[in-house]
């Protein structure tokens, strides 16, 4: 692995932050894992591959809403950024079908939502 230099950090500070275009994040802290986040992560990874969807599946830490774990946050082009709670295998597939494929939000599992500002 290459060493990070001061100059690299300088240029990172100047660059506007670029995030991956489309992503799904699964909360994988202890509470999330206890609630079944690993299965959700696995399901999403497999299904995305199977369906050949271009979306990055990532993991992240606790978003703070422990009572509605597992939490899955979805950010894809043309849709607001949504945090889904109480996601199991079925809801995960519904997210792929509805949110990502049909651009329809999955009712009743939405716990937080952020309107996207133009240009991130």
């Amino acid at each position: 692995m290459s060493k990070i230099t001061k100059e690299e950090l300088d240029s990172m500070a100047k660059q506007p932050k670029k995030e991956d275009k489309d992503w799904i994040k699964v909360g994988m802290s202890s509470c999330g894992i206890a609630a079944g986040a690993e299965e959700v992560f696995k399901t999403l990874t497999e299904e995305v591959k199977k369906r050949n969807i271009k979306v990055a599946i990532k993991k992240c830490g606790c978003a703070g809403m422990c009572s509605v774990e597992p939490l899955v946050e979805v950010n894809v082009e043309g849709m607001p950024q949504v945090t889904y709670g109480k996601v199991n295998k079925d809801v995960a597939i519904q997210i792929l079908d509805d949110h990502i494929h049909s651009h329809r939000l999955v009712n009743d599992h939405i716990y937080d939502i952020q309107a996207k500002k133009p240009n991130g």
Partner: protein
């Protein structure tokens, strides 16, 4: 074209949830105006507002509370016109502010590039190349007003400054990730969700005091936190952020993890140091404080996880920016682990000075099952209860202390009318009794005596003189115990006695538990008028305390009854009374 997005949720808790009906009405309104393709309406499970009736939120920033059916069409029209309905729309006031948790739930905790993309190590760079000296760095922390989040709230800059001023060939920094209080898991979440921020905080602390080595002390019960911190440390070594000549400067710094065995007392700083040194984890008297004589007798700064997670933010944004958040004496935010009888239990971060009511009701969604709130407990076994009369108190170190509790590390347990204050005091006392290291007698004997007395009261054998005894032992422990565990162990007892002495007295004089929690004080009776003589209670009573038959009815023999409550639970006709 981007569609307008509208969220709908009935946040009322007193009537049945009308979200679906309002949603249907809203869709009809859209269809009537041919707007179904330009507006996306969604039912959400949580809209961030509680007990405000039907809430409709039109993104990005218009919110309507207590929407009546007649308002729906006006709102639909307003979307067409592109402006909010005057007089109906409310201002949006976010209650949470995420500084410590800024990256939690956002970055992949195992991916250093994610952290770098979120200003990771920019603060370290600023310290090494712009501020350049420990003095200037500590000055920034001083300006911020940051105080320790591990319990006592000691000003972080002062602690760093003491260690910096010491002359020594070797100094250390320690991150206290022991987190032993029941009900608290803030530090675990930060270590699991954003380990790099804490690592960066450690480096900055190290630079400020002149340390070249740091230790993470993490309890072994947190294996995921250990894994993620270890991974962060490994990546930092690989990328040259730890080791020698960091970023080409002459700053050298290394980090290692030490596992704690999970004894509460090992969170106490002198015990923690002993434990890292490989000795038995028992406290010893201070002074000398660790900043003078700490790990292996060298000057050592020991800070809590949350304290350290604040540090990169403060350096990057400036101490004065941080100091704008909070109250006069307590700056920044505080992370709380909200648990107990709360609707949305979880991790919340609010500016210091937010009232307890706002935390419990606006952020936490209030009490579940429509029960009345009785008290909240803060500070774990070292803290106390705050009765509902003080819900409007803004949280900061001083205010909580005035009320007889403490900020502590951030556990916040919400209690309702079913919680018995004697039982709560007993719960924490048992915890302290079991966790006392036994080194000093005020704590070893005091916790045992207090626990016995509380048990006696809870079992209906208390006498009024017991209350004086509890107070006397408390004072002795507060004065004479060697470490914080014993000094603060009486707090839950003192604070419940302060606010709920009448509840203790009912236990002692009337031999009753008003919250029906203390098992030995309960008695069960079958109410003949309500009893349908189904015999279900009798069949479920393992103690065979219920006798009778279909013709004569059933009775409970309290001499045989072991007060398991089974009969009360199984009777479908509410014919068993519990008093």
């Amino acid at each position: 074209m981007d569609r307008n997005i509208v969220y709908i949720k009935d946040t009322g808790i007193l009537q049945p949830d009308r979200t679906k009906d309002v949603y249907a009405a809203f869709l009809n309104g859209l269809r009537d105006r041919g707007m179904q393709d330009s507006v996306m309406a969604v039912r959400v499970a949580d809209i961030g507002a509680y007990n405000q009736g039907v809430v409709i939120k039109v993104l990005p920033d218009t919110t309507y509370y207590n929407v009546k059916d007649a308002d729906i069409n006006r709102i639909v029209d307003s979307i067409k016109e592109g402006k909010a309905v005057q007089g109906l729309a409310a201002r949006k006031e976010p209650k949470q502010l995420r500084i410590v948790l800024r990256n939690c739930g956002v970055v992949d905790p195992d991916n250093i590039d994610d952290y770098l993309a979120r200003d990771g190590y920019q603060a370290l760079k600023k310290v090494l190349f712009d501020l350049k000296t420990p003095e200037k760095t500590i000055d920034e922390i001083k300006k911020s007003g940051l105080r320790g989040r591990g319990g006592a709230g000691y000003p972080t800059w002062m602690k760093w400054n003491f260690a910096k001023q010491m002359v020594s060939d070797q100094k250390y920094v320690i991150c206290n990730g022991d987190e032993g209080d029941p009900g608290a898991y803030m530090d675990r979440s930060v270590l699991e969700g954003d380990p790099y921020s804490v690592v960066e905080g450690m480096m900055i602390a190290g630079f400020s005091v002149g340390a070249t080595m740091g230790y993470f002390y993490i309890r072994a019960e947190y294996p995921l936190a250990v894994d993620r911190v270890q991974n962060a440390i490994d990546r930092c070594y690989e990328r040259g952020l730890l080791g020698k000549n960091i970023l080409g400067s002459n700053f050298n710094f290394g980090l290692e993890i030490r596992l704690g065995a999970g004894a509460f007392v090992c969170g106490e700083e002198t015990a923690l140091i002993a434990s890292i040194e490989g000795r038995r984890g028992t406290p010893h008297p201070r002074p000398p404080y660790p900043s003078v004589k700490g790990l292996w007798e060298k000057p050592t700064v020991i800070n809590n996880v949350e304290t350290l997670a604040n540090v990169p933010y403060i350096i990057l944004k400036g101490g004065d920016v941080f100091a704008r958040v909070g109250t006069a004496t307590s700056k920044g935010t505080k992370v709380f682990a909200l648990t107990g009888k709360i609707k949305n239990s979880g991790l919340v971060e609010v500016p210091m000075g937010t009232t307890i009511r706002e935390i419990v009701f606006d952020v936490g969604g209030g009490i579940f099952n429509n029960k009345a709130i009785k008290a909240i407990q803060t500070g774990g076994p070292s803290g106390g209860v705050i009765p509902k009369d003080f819900l409007n108190t803004p949280v900061d170190y001083e205010n909580l202390q005035k009320l007889g509790s403490i900020m502590g590390s951030g556990g916040m347990i919400v209690m309702d009318e079913d919680d018995c204050m004697v039982d709560i005091a007993r719960f924490y006392q048992r915890f302290c009794f079991e966790e006392s290291c036994g080194k000093c007698s005020p704590c070893r004997i005091g916790t045992a005596q207090m626990l016995n007395t509380l048990s006696k009261i809870a079992e209906g054998m208390g006498e009024l003189s017991d209350l004086d005894n509890l107070r006397r032992i408390s004072q002795a422990m507060q004065k004479a115990a060697l470490c914080g565990l014993g000094q603060t162990a009486p707090n839950p007892v003192v604070s419940t006695l302060r606010y709920y002495q009448d509840e203790y007295e009912v236990h002692i004089i009337n031999k009753k538990c008003p919250s029906k929690k203390c098992r030995n004080l309960l008695s069960y009776k079958i109410i003949p008028e309500k009893c349908k003589r189904c015999s279900v209670c009798m069949m479920n009573c393992e103690a065979k305390a219920i006798t009778g038959n279909k013709d004569d009815g059933y009775v409970i023999n309290m001499d045989k009854c072991v007060r398991c409550g089974k009969c009360f639970e199984v009777c479908k006709f509410k014919a068993v009374s519990k008093e």
